[in-house]
Symmetry: C2
Subunit: 495 residues, 2 copies
């Protein structure tokens, strides 16, 4: 129904916003790496400058708490600045040059290859990170870094924050000289569908549930030219605790587990949702004590809050798990943290019910007698963003590590998965359904999603993209005739 | 129908072959880079040693000619050896290490990231390159290089060659110490469907038509865990010739064009299928002369041969193009090369018919008056593997180059797209429908398709994969704390 076409937060309908973005694409692509780095830093500076006001709106809309939200702003602006550095460093272009070889059979032409921006990118915000995975979050930062205009579909869970952030991003980009249309915001479910239908949109990035993604994936499959869909869709984040670890530092593990699964009200995509523990641990009174100390949590949206108690009930009834710490109130409003427990035989029997993601402060303990049971049970666990192991030196853990590596994107040793450092090395992805792809949505390599290789055969130098000319290559790491070449240390960072 | 389950060329049903491959996966993954490089070189050596016999079978089954086929064997073994070198060099692992930073807020753990083999890969052979895109072709070489077992679904166009090649690969791998199951062959349409349904198959690579791929893509979408599908599906490979180029070297361009679109009987995925030329060129008598000199071509299969004349008729009738060189025989058997021509206004009107891929020695000339017409017409052309420009210095070609870059994976200047050098820098891919993905199926970076990142947080050194330990990293290019680090030049190449 065209009459229902969503309005954007910063003016214009979806088709206008998309047209403006597509119009900006050549200029965004043509802007030098240094110029785009400046745009990212301008956005970061503007967000930091308005952090107090933004956090106030965010807390009102998401109930995530001012402290957590201030940290999230810092993470978000740190991410923009990291990507600015990645642009200046230049490796992300993956530039490769092979000289012509007229003596080869057949003769080989000169070939230069690098990564080129895909074009306009649709970004779908998540509710649980109103800064880091929303309007100015990782996907937006990565796409702008790549040289792609971005149209964000704001999340209905924090509309006022989305608009306020969009205004700051738009103004910062304009002040930094970016073309109008480099960034846009649209709102509403219909706007999201329109976005992935638009022929000029060249990729979509999404963080949310599989159910939420399915409509978009179906729509993309109906395009005459299906586009890449980078979805982060759901993750169990299994944890394995060995007997040795419990014996050596049970206190710290229990403290850490309770802090991790209740962080942000249990609304992290890296929440440890399934914890294999030696038999007896589920009845450890320290679990009850730590959970009792946690405050009540006001969940992100009424829908999430309303789904929480039924979700826990399903774990109890269909999963045959018992509550070992905390309680469900059943009523609407704030919720208590809950731990349910079962044993590994029951888990194997009822894994479908026990693996159904329950968004909120609940986790499932699975008691085991032998580590081999854990290895067998892990085979039932789908792809996850993370897998965690708490063990002591000398314990036989190879099979557990192998099972985790096989199904997760990040293996955490003796820590907790909920912290996701934004670094060069971070990987935030995993086999289906953790993500739809082998890419990451966090860290320096997340920029790669919005680029595609193009090779130039025997191109006259003046026709090459600026980054592929010899004078530019001298300033960035690249491969030439098979050898990786670093820029000389005294190169300038300005063009 | 289980009774129709395809038999493999080297023994066993599909489920047996797949199970054997999955069983071999841990050992294939665990083999060192140097060991896997040895496997690739062993296969290359064995193929070279048997080249005469293989070429004889291939020529009988494909009619591509002994000379072309000998060249293709060399390309195939060169590719295996290139990938062996890529393994030894080690950059393909994309290893990144960030040290812990306890002073950061929040404190940052140590993180090490690299690329890990996906697991068993299904490879679907193409008919048109019975060596380079078949049993021991690029996809197989890339997957083995990545550390993945391979199950090839052989092409029905060259069954005997497929089996002979599979025997050579199997024997070479066994002699080199690779685990049984590292490579397998299955045959038949049903076997292909079974392959992409098998839970242990973690990715599929396909070269062929969109129609041929659709069944596999549908099957993959029905999996509870959809796997990556790397398809190379169809490509128009537009060429633009400027007035200046015609004036300066019309003879050479006409020679090159006729040689390129008839190469391999016009059955290359990089065949120039659409050529924009200045008005008047279509009636150049040199075109007729060069086409008349080409031999008759026996096409790859009876089906392709039977589809050729109707395809040319469709270009004439639905596309309103006229034959300007060569002729269609209409009968079965060998075919003549044909050039049809139209003008840019007709092309814009009837682009659907004129862009329908016609496999075989035919190309479509589109005459234009102004280069701006070409730029507008290119907007109707779908994603292609290549785009070619013949121009002279000083001509205004920026808009043409921009239009080509936007829709192709390789831009060729003053050459022809049918030669695809196997190098570090090659890119053989392009926007849909050229490929389903932003990856390449030729060149060093094609290995990337069969890998996914995994990060290790605070892992004890002895628990890390061998390639991520400090002593291994010293021997390969990697990034540490943001800086790219090259191995010292005097490192040994053996572990």
């Amino acid at each position: 129904m065209p009459g229902e076409a969503a309005e954007t937060g910063v003016g214009g309908g979806v088709s206008d916003v998309v047209a403006l973005a597509a119009g900006a694409a050549p200029a965004v692509r043509a802007a030098s790496r240094e110029v785009r780095a400046g745009w990212l830093r301008a956005i970061a500076g503007a967000l930091d400058a308005d952090a107090d006001a933004l956090v106030e709106i965010a807390d009102r809309e998401t109930h995530l708490g001012a402290e957590r939200l201030r940290g999230e702003v810092a993470r978000t602006t740190g991410q923009l600045r990291l990507f600015a550095g990645v642009l200046e460093e230049g490796s992300y272009l993956e530039a490769i040059v092979d000289a012509a070889d007229p003596a080869a059979v057949p003769p080989r032409p000169e070939l230069r290859r690098f990564l080129r921006p895909l074009g306009t990118v649709a970004v779908f915000s998540a509710s649980n990170f109103p800064f880091a995975f929303s309007v100015a979050g990782g996907d937006t930062a990565a796409a702008l870094a790549a040289g792609c205009p971005v149209v964000v579909k704001g999340h209905s869970g924090h509309p006022e924050l989305s608009r306020a952030t969009a205004r700051i991003v738009t103004d910062a980009l304009a002040a930094a000289g970016a073309p109008a249309g480099a960034f846009g915001l649209v709102e509403g479910r219909q706007a999201g569908l329109d976005l992935v239908r638009a022929p000029v949109v060249r990729a979509a990035a999404f963080t949310g549930s599989l159910a939420g993604a399915q409509g978009l994936m179906d729509e993309i499959a109906r395009r005459s030219d299906p586009i890449p869909f980078f979805g982060e869709l759901g993750s169990t984040n299994p944890v394995v605790v060995t007997p040795g670890a419990v014996a050596a530092r049970g206190d710290a593990i229990i403290d850490g587990l309770v802090a991790s699964f209740t962080l942000g009200g249990g609304q992290f995509c890296t929440k440890p949702g399934l914890v294999f523990v030696p038999r007896g641990v589920a009845d450890d009174p320290r679990l009850r004590a730590r959970v009792a100390e946690r405050p009540e949590f006001t969940l992100l949206t009424d829908r999430i809050a309303a789904a929480f108690a039924p979700g826990v009930d399903r774990l109890r009834e269909e999963g045959a798990a018992r509550v070992v710490a905390g309680e469900t109130s059943g009523a609407s409003g704030p919720v208590h943290a809950v731990i349910v427990a079962t044993d590994v035989a029951t888990f194997v029997e009822r894994s479908d019910a026990l693996l159904e993601e329950c968004f909120g402060p609940v986790t499932v303990l699975v008691e085991y007698d032998e580590i081999a049971e854990v290895v067998a049970a892990l085979a039932l666990v789908g792809g996850s963003l993370t897998g965690t192991l708490h063990a002591q030196p000398g314990e036989a853990i190879d099979a557990v590590v192998a099972a985790l590596e096989e199904r997760v994107g990040r293996v955490v040793f003796d820590g907790w998965p909920t912290g996701v450092a934004v670094t060069w090395s971070q990987h935030h992805g995993g086999p289906w359904p953790a993500t739809t792809n082998t890419s990451t949505s966090v860290g320096a390599t997340s920029i790669r999603r919005f680029l595609r290789p193009v090779a130039y055969q025997q191109a006259p130098s003046e026709t090459l993209p600026a980054d592929l000319r010899d004078e530019a290559l001298a300033g960035i790491p690249h491969r030439r005739d098979g050898e990786l070449v670093l820029p000389s240390p005294n190169r300038g960072t300005t063009p």
